[in-house]
Symmetry: C2
Amino acid sequence: MEKEYTTVVVDAMGGDNAPDAMIQGAVDAITKNAAVQVILVGREEVIAPKLEAYTFDKARIRIVNASEEISCDEPPVQAIRRKKDSSIVVGQKLVANGEADAFLSAGSTGAVLVGGQLVVGRIRGIDRTPIATLIPTDNGVSLLIDSGANVDARASHLVQFARMGSIYMEHVIGVKNPRVAIVNVGLEEEKGNALVKETYPMLKACADINFTGSIEAREIPHHGADVIVCEGFTGNVILKLYEGTANALVGMIKGGLMSSFRSKIGALLIKPALKKTLKSMDASEYGGAPLLGLKGLVIKTHGSAKAKEVCNSILQVPVFKEQEIVNKIKESLVPEAPERKEE
Amino acid sequence: MEKEYTTVVVDAMGGDNAPDAMIQGAVDAITKNAAVQVILVGREEVIAPKLEAYTFDKARIRIVNASEEISCDEPPVQAIRRKKDSSIVVGQKLVANGEADAFLSAGSTGAVLVGGQLVVGRIRGIDRTPIATLIPTDNGVSLLIDSGANVDARASHLVQFARMGSIYMEHVIGVKNPRVAIVNVGLEEEKGNALVKETYPMLKACADINFTGSIEAREIPHHGADVIVCEGFTGNVILKLYEGTANALVGMIKGGLMSSFRSKIGALLIKPALKKTLKSMDASEYGGAPLLGLKGLVIKTHGSAKAKEVCNSILQVPVFKEQEIVNKIKESLVPEAPERKEE
């Protein structure tokens, strides 16, 4: 019976490594979890012959044809409106219609976001849909929300981000009573730009959020909070700088190790330990980032995602489904609705 | 003759390691550069006995007494207005009066900033004074401007930051025709929040700036630009995350190296090479960060600055003085003044 499965639609055409990484990731995911099935959406004539090369349970991967593609250069709103037969629109419709549990794409972030709003739709009462990205720290993972969807958010939006992020961390990642903090330039309550100063007391007043105050950026890699709240501009800067700094430093260390015979020998000896450490800072271990606040699940993975990341992103979905994150977000909005007196 | 010297006022009372690091840094600086003299400003009864313990050219360090101190918790505007005999106010007055070439402090950033505006004063035509911080990259240094002074800047302010940063990089650091970029979430011109979208075409139109467009945060550690322009909120996040990520990663690598006997031996062999690499990423090598746009030189060093950073910050001042940065900034404003017709 189809109902027993978790069905994930994978955009086979989006991302630098499409369609091969998507096909491989889909095959790996259904092999690892027998309760998962995948719909690959995209140009059937391209996908089908490649898929045939794999050995897998044919009943659990099917192709839905979509003749168009949306590139990262296209203005997203126009692309979603015009390209009705694109893999992003066709794929998201399958979620909107209830034929699938989630849509996953490594394609244009803008188009996935706009499609989320227009095709899947926002939960009533949610004003903006942030990208919630897990980032590695030296002591576990934190959730960065918003990591890039809303570059000009308002205070009321940040409060919704904080609430949705808190629900996500508690129910999907399993962090009890997650510590929620707002990104700021200092710890004192009077610190911050206009947006943060307005948001701070609003977060403080939320009884359903374990708000711990401001977090300075230097504490983010030290797991200073479980949920890190900011607008999408700052969030995007944090996400990309995190990645860039780690890359640059590792490159410099490796370069430095090749500078003398002595250090070259040392480098050979430390290689396995270094590799293990760097793996724990590798974001691809955590799969994709969901767009929270939509009526269905939409997950964005890195444009450069490889099969491993695609597979891990697919394997997140059963947890999302089981925990009914969309419903939990809907329920969390009740306290903000007009008060009703119980008789 | 006093006129031959570069005179630096050092706030002996500001910072975590005051007054010892400031006294030591001053002694080291005048020993390294015979054309430098230092005025230590602060509580004479505390400074004098400590200073006496050193051997140095007594003619080139003197103490100016200031009976009050401003702590980092005090609201800056109030503190500067009320504490007329604080080390920050007394020290900055020496610069305002022309008795010294620069004021250096590791104390309250807010108070140093406000003092800069109220005691030293802005150059006419400059609307905001950004902090310009040099940050290490894997291929040289970049200037981050504003790294924290103006958390709610406007587009016209960012253009002034870009211009002042460009002058600084060219004349103090010696980078010819420095590449100036604005921090953004993507490279395309239509990307960005409202502030960046407004600023971008203004920067593009500046004939005196080598504007190379947007820079994504992941390219900052790879020396993607010489001058990195942003408002102070984003700049502060960048500066602190840079520091935090490097710290966390180094800690994790060191921890990883202690995990097996093999890697412990390797760690011993790579220690010198690793140390050298990490030193190149150590911001304290670059001394303090100037507040640009003031009528005199005001330099802020890290609150945790040690003698080395204090010394390096003092040794920057002769270059500033020689290059007449304040005058060059004044001159750069001429193109924006009302046009005058030559007869």
